[in-house]
């Protein structure tokens, strides 16, 4: 039984990680709190719903969701954010505007009602763990979460692009001084953030339904994960996802009425003890080389 609870926690953690990793990465390289990520999330949610509704099968539908999120993000970065380079505050307000527009556009086109997504075949089944049924879809969620973490971590650690991205996150000025062109890196990372948000949206549909305000509803969790983990840190995001996901599952099992509260309590606790987040750096370090 406890195994079942732990697996639920892990599947939540996997979802939170995919949901928040993009936001964290984008903050790392752009310094932008990317509200629009909630918009790409909703776009991905509906894209997957559309694909599944047309009998595409889960893999093409989910890839489609990620692509929709990524393409939207790329368009936004190139047309709206890039001209505001150097004006971080303006960029944040712009991403807020993009989120509002995307949410409302989805609401306009598909209506405010909740659509249900039906999984078929193996993914609609459950397996028994410790005498309790556990949905196969949630196992898939864990697998995808692990896969995304490994891909991100390995790509950042072992590829040239990953090295340049990390250099840009460390200091954009120093990266330029080392001959790295930072502008395309920003576009790439921002589009990647959009893809992850879109994929997270696709993964959200099967267990919570498809509705326009889903993005805003999950934004709270994203922010909690990112505050707890430390902005811009992928391992921090993973650690925070695990803490929040497992705490939510365990507390939800033993004290169901506190399930929602526990996230916020964890966040407040972390803030009190470690304001920079689990794996963030202490405040005060600036990019001293910036103009």
């Amino acid at each position: 039984m406890i195994l079942n609870v732990l697996l639920s926690g892990l599947s939540l953690a996997a979802f939170y990680f995919i949901l928040s990793a993009g936001l964290s990465l984008v903050f790392g390289i752009m310094g932008v709190l990317n509200f629009a990520s909630a918009g790409y999330f909703v776009a991905g949610l509906y894209a997957a719903w559309f694909g599944l509704g047309h009998g595409w099968g889960i893999l093409p539908a989910f890839i489609f969701a990620a692509v929709v999120g990524g393409v939207l993000a790329l368009l936004v970065e190139v047309s709206l954010l890039r001209p505001l380079y150097g004006n971080v505050g303006g960029q944040i307000l712009t991403t807020l505007g993009v989120m509002l527009i995307l949410d409302e556009a989805v609401n306009w086109v598909f209506g405010p009602q909740i659509q249900q997504e039906q999984m078929t075949g193996l993914l609609s089944q459950t397996v028994m763990f410790g005498g309790m049924p556990f949905p196969v879809f949630r196992l898939l969620l864990i697998a995808v979460g692990v896969l995304i973490f490994l891909l991100l971590a390995l790509a950042l650690r072992y590829t040239g692009l990953g090295l340049r991205v990390r250099a840009g996150v460390d200091s954009q000025t120093l990266a330029e001084l080392a001959g790295v062109r930072v502008a395309p890196l920003r576009s790439i990372v921002y589009a990647l953030g959009g893809m992850l948000a879109g994929l997270a949206g696709a993964l959200y549909g099967p267990f919570s339904g498809v509705y326009p305000s889903a993005g805003l509803d999950t934004l709270l969790l994203t922010f909690i994960v990112v505050v707890v983990g430390g902005l811009g840190s992928i391992p921090g995001t993973l650690a925070a996802s695990l803490v929040i996901g497992l705490a939510e599952a365990l507390v939800g099992f033993f004290v169901p009425s506190l399930a929602l509260t526990v996230n916020v309590l964890v966040m407040i606790l972390v803030l009190l003890l470690r304001p920079q987040g689990l794996l963030g750096k202490p405040p005060g370090r600036r990019d001293t080389h910036a103009a």
Binding site: A175, A178, V180, H289
Partner: protein, 233 residues
């Protein structure tokens, strides 16, 4: 083979800092850019790299105009800037720091900097001040940059480390032209061939470093320079 600055003007936050900076550095030579605090030494270096916007004047590298190029293009043209804290990537390992701008195998790059060998896997944030400066020079060496601009290499270093640093600069001398901003006159005299004196945003005199004390502008340009040597702009 020369990097030439002519008639450079620049502002910081709207306040004019550089009024007329003219200088030239040549391959195989180390030029010390000297002047008291606030004279515009660091701003001069930053302007050459495009970190501070150029108001007027020209920066040419072997006859090509660099003034309009973005920072990353200037870096690819062979300009390498070492800010006073070394300018290494804190979150990257020593090896990754080298790899980012290297145009030679890492093993070859650290041959002259053997003290970095055991540190390759260490995060640069954990290096000592001296190790960080050595890493910065190793990066410059590995990048085969032809124009090195080094801000206050001696700042905050112990005498033994200074000697090591002077050795590293001698090593790079044969491969690049260097412009070094210094407050420590002794160190400047031990590594430089020439000097350029900067006073209130203007280059006022230049010559071989041995004749520095005879310069008519020396007192005006360097007054208070030594006593404030510890602070930064």
């Amino acid at each position: 083979m020369s990097l030439r600055l002519s008639g450079i003007r620049a502002r910081i936050g709207g306040v004019p800092v550089l009024h007329a900076v003219d200088l030239e550095i040549r391959n195989g030579k180390v030029t010390a850019l000297l002047g008291r605090n606030g004279a515009g030494k660091t701003t001069t270096l930053r302007t050459v790299l495009g970190l501070t916007e150029l108001d007027a004047g020209e920066i040419t590298c072997e006859g090509r105009d660099l003034s309009r190029l973005p920072t990353w293009r200037r870096a690819r043209e062979g300009l390498f800037y070492v800010p006073e804290d070394g300018g290494v990537f804190q979150d990257l390992s020593v090896q990754e720091n080298l790899k980012l701008s290297a145009r030679m195998p890492i093993a070859q790059a650290i041959e002259p900097f053997e003290e970095l060998g055991p540190l390759l896997g260490r995060r640069a944030a954990l290096l000592s001040g001296g190790e960080r400066k050595i890493l910065a020079l190793a990066r410059a060496y590995a990048s085969r940059s032809e124009w090195l601009l080094i801000d206050e290499p001696s700042l905050g270093l112990a005498p033994t480390v200074l000697r090591r640093l002077a050795g590293a600069i001698q090593l790079l001398r044969g491969r690049a032209a260097m412009l070094i901003v210094e407050q420590n006159l002794g160190f400047a005299q031990s590594v430089a061939d020439d000097y350029v004196l900067l006073l209130d945003g203007r280059t006022v005199d230049r010559g071989p470093i041995d004749t520095l004390r005879q310069s008519s502008q020396f007192d005006a340009a360097m007054h208070f320079g030594q006593s404030e040597g510890g602070s930064s702009q």
